[in-house]
Every structure is written in C-alpha cells, then in structure tokens.
Subunit: 205 residues, 2 copies
C-alpha cells in the first residue's frame, strides 16, 4: 500500500530476520535487516522516514535500550514496534510507556505486524510534518535581531506599540519599525498568524 517507507528490522535470529524481511518487502516496504543492534544504531539515519521493528531480547543491547537511544535524538521519536518470542508483562508495559507503537508476541500474525507498521508509518509522517514545520518557523525566527524578537513576544502578548515602547524604553515609532521588519522576515501578514506561530513555538513564555 505504500513505498519509500523504510523498516529497520533488528533481530539476532537470522531466520526471523529473513522471514519478516520477506513479509514486509512483499508489502512494499523498504526493509533494512540487522542482526546486530550495534550495527543498526551506527547505520541508522533519523532523516529517513521509517520505523524500527525490534526484537526485545538481544545480546548486548536489548530492544528497550535501543528504544531509549532512538528516542533521545532531537525531539523526533523514531516509531518502534517490538516483537518478542519470550518476554513478560513488565517489559511490555515499560515499552509501551516509552511510546512503543506495539509489542507483538511470537508467533506474530502478519496482520498484526502490518497494522503496527502502518500505524508507525502514520505517526512517523505526522511527526515529520510537524517537525519540519517547526524547523522552518524556527529558522525564520532565528533571522530576527534580538530587538525584533523582544518586540515579537510583546506583540504576541497583545500589547500596543505604545506600551511595548514604554517597556523597552524607547518610542512607538521605533517599535513600529522593528515590528514591521519582524513580520516581513517571518513572512507573516497578520497578527493572528503571528500568534499561532508563537503558540506552536512556545514563544509566549
């Protein structure tokens, strides 16, 4: 149903690795199989849209460890689906609390795996969309001078130019100029849009 979505598959059992790879490839996914968690982490690229399907218990690095590492990144969370042959409830609960998409026990039903990967794909797409939106906004805010940024926060707070001038120890005219340049740089025309942007970036506080 989809393509250009990469599934990072990590399982120390070559048989499982092969079987799941075939299954997911048949579904149209781009699969990258790893029998070693370490190698996976080295080659893993957060820039690629995709999800991780991890065996819970592996020698060296177990699935939960990997999940933690993947989560640390920069706010972006690589969606993780766990598969396991032998595990326990506390482990599954910990995984889910940490944000796992699903926690499947072997024997794994194809349908369950597909659904999990599908949800992972949706979440990944959404989080990428959000993330890139925030990035582009932050990039624009980054081009603002310190003064312009101050004015921005005051405008978002709903203060009048005159009041902002008072707060910043200058005159209204100066604020108008900063304000105008600020809006220009942000590529925004209305205060409404400015407020929405500021809300998303948490610039209100």
């Amino acid at each position: 149903m989809t393509d250009k979505f990469t599934v990072y598959l990590v399982d120390d059992d070559p048989g499982v690795l092969k079987a799941l790879s075939r299954l997911l490839r048949a579904k149209g996914h781009d699969v990258k199989p790893y029998s070693s968690p370490q190698v996976f982490l080295e080659e893993h690229d957060v820039g690629v849209p995709g999800c991780a399907v991890l065996d819970v218990s592996m020698p060296g690095l177990d699935g939960l460890e990997i999940q933690r590492v993947l989560t640390v990144a920069n706010g972006y969370h690589r969606p993780v689906v766990f598969v396991t042959g032998k595990s326990d409830i506390p482990t599954s609960v910990r995984a889910m609390k940490a944000g796992a998409i699903d926690f499947l026990t072997k024997p794994i039903k194809d349908k369950d795996l597909f659904e999990a990967v599908s949800r992972a794909e949706a979440r990944d797409a959404e989080s990428r969309r959000l993330h890139s939106e925030l990035e582009s906004m932050q990039a624009k805010v980054g081009t603002l001078t310190p003064r312009e940024r101050e004015v921005l926060t005051h405008v978002v707070a709903g203060r009048l130019n005159k009041q902002i001038a008072g707060d910043l120890g200058t005159v209204e005219k100066t604020i108008k100029v900063h304000r105008s340049r600020m809006m220009e740089k942000l590529g925004i025309r209305t205060v409404a849009d400015l407020v929405r942007m500021a809300e998303k970036l948490n610039l209100s506080r």
Copy 2:
C-alpha cells in the same frame, strides 16, 4: 502527600481489596472499594477527582471493558491503573494502548502502586484543569449570536473588517459592531487572546 483524591478500587478478591484499601488510605487517599464492577460503574461519578485501580480479570465485566466505558464519557478520561494476578502480554499491551496509566502484576510492590496512583493523580488534575478551562470558554462562545460567531472566525483568520464585511455581504460598520460585542461577551481585549482561545477550541476550522 495528598488528600481529597479518590481511588476507585475494583477487585473481586475481598482480600486484595482490603489490603490495597489499607495501603492507599494510609497514603492519604480517599478509597472507594468495590468487589463488583457493575456496582462500581453505577456509583462512579466522573465529577470526582480521582483514578480507578482495576483488577484485569473479573467475572462479568473485565478491567478492559470498564476502561472502555470510563473512556467513552465526554472527552474526559478517568485515569486507570490495572492490577493483575494472572494476565498476558497482549492484554497488557491493549490496556496501555487504551491509555492506562500502568499495568501492575501481583505481587504488587507498594512503591509501584503509589507511583502509578501519583501519576494518575497528576494526569487527572491536568485533564480537569484543561477541561474546565475549555468549558468556561465554550460557555462564553455559546452566548454569542450566530453572526458574532461568524465574525469571530473571520477575525481569527486574520481578515480585515472590510474583507469580512464583503464575505458576509454587509458593510464594515456592521462588522465593527458585531466584533466589539463579541469581544465584550468573551471578556477578551486583544486579538492575540482571541486567537489563542480559538486555537484551544479549534474554532479556526
């Protein structure tokens, strides 16, 4: 550490019920023990700040069923902590996916239960705060006339009075009046606040 926080405790085992009750009461919580899921659901009051601690497997209504019922409400989700003597991974995963705070296996460590209830309390408080905030805002929006509401959406969209007038087939003066009355009724003074309110209420679309 806290009080006036109610723990609805539901377990068909009288012994467990008694033990957990004592434990939670000692911690300062107001505990309402039920050995019957049905009775619990009948007496349950979403208006009371608290959480539910449910046994997963019970005759009649199992824990997951109860969780589903508690979730249906009106957008408010009663935080649920599961306790179980005998369960399996798929069940725990389903519970966590459905938003459970935690899924504890017996023998339950006091510390785990306390932490779970504590997190449930935090979540409950937060969701109540959010909910009441939304309610009061919606109540105010409810006092608006249809026309005022239309104007609201246009203002939030960043449109000028003149443009709004064009869209609504009237003149700028009329929009000014609606706009003024609208702000007055909402108890809001700045466009910035209006936008933030609209965002929270999803009035932008």
